[in-house]
């Protein structure tokens, strides 16, 4: 989805924004803050979540922070409903996930990559 959205917008982006390897925003406004916020929420780091929540609201606005929180929450559900069903990985993202993309994101290192 990220790749498709950049194809539409024409923006350049660095996949390291997702893996945490990008030094800056990775071509996405507020990328470092959004990455950190998603990570802090997922890891249950309350102090860091609070700091980044305030920083996001300052940088992108309160509504943006709320939507970032909502999307992080939604994906805590999505990953579980799809992981529980064991659907074939080949159908993910409309079948647009290339080998290069999987390698860049480290997906092939995930336990579920072999769809056991």
């Amino acid at each position: 989805m990220l790749r498709a959205s950049t194809e539409v917008s024409g923006a350049e982006f660095d996949l390291g924004a997702i893996t945490g390897e990008a030094a800056e925003d990775g071509g996405i406004a507020g990328g470092v803050l959004l990455h950190g916020f998603a990570e802090a929420v997922t890891l249950g780091d309350e102090a860091r979540t609070g700091e980044l929540r305030d920083a996001l609201a300052d940088r992108l606005g309160e509504a943006a922070m709320i939507d970032a929180a909502a999307i992080a929450a939604a994906f805590h559900g999505f990953v579980r409903i799809v992981d529980a069903t064991g659907a074939p990985v080949a159908g993910a993202a409309g079948g647009r996930v290339t080998a290069e993309f999987r390698e860049a994101l480290g997906i092939d290192e995930f336990y579920g990559a072999c769809n056991p």
């Binding site: 945490g20 071509g27 996405i28 992108l60 805590h76 559900g77 990953v79 529980a84």
Partner: protein, 244 residues
Amino acid sequence: MSGIDYDTPYRVRETLVAAQRLAWRRIAEPGAWLDGERRVAAAGAVRAARGCALCRERKQALSPFAIEGEHQAGGRLSAAEVELIHRLTTDPGRLSRSWAEGILAAGVSEEAYVEIVGIVGMVMVVDTFRRALGLPEFDLPAPVAGAPSGYRAPGARRHDAWISLVQPDDVVESDGALYGAAASPVVKALSLVPEAKRAYWDLAEEHYLPGSEMTDYATGVRAIDRMQMELVAGRVSALHQCVY
């Protein structure tokens, strides 16, 4: 905290609040295969999993299957149902086909499996949103009495997933609305029990994107653009080791 209400320094959009209220009401009501009491018990087990010593030990182990033990009891839930909820809550990236088959072989029907997965998903969405805002969890709703509908989508088949799914061509009128333009693995995941699928997606779409916007990569429906949205989504998915 009783009821779904937001008394916070932040302004939470009303559509989000309404979606969470609807989700809580649906968890409390009889579903297709579980009554309200068992559905609320499933929601409670999601929260119990976060403090479960066995789950913590398994999460730290090289293989979760190497650690044996018992989870905290889940009231009217069977041990296999509790295992389903706890593992899905605490370690979703390391589930396997044989594990799912073990849950089914232990007496959990496919339909109950799917309905429980939907409840886990809904509780995770609401609780995570609260945690992201630094707010305490809502109290779980009181169960509503009544009998489950017993509806299973008649077109559901065991294709190549671990459980039966409905392919778009197999949807029948009694299923109600199941798919829009897209039917990716995640969209089909709960389709065996259409009520469970709709309950989860009504909540999830309000937090992420309406189905109508899903393939609009220039959508302006949220306060952050699509690249920003997918960065958050991608990071959460990667941390969960979700391959989809």
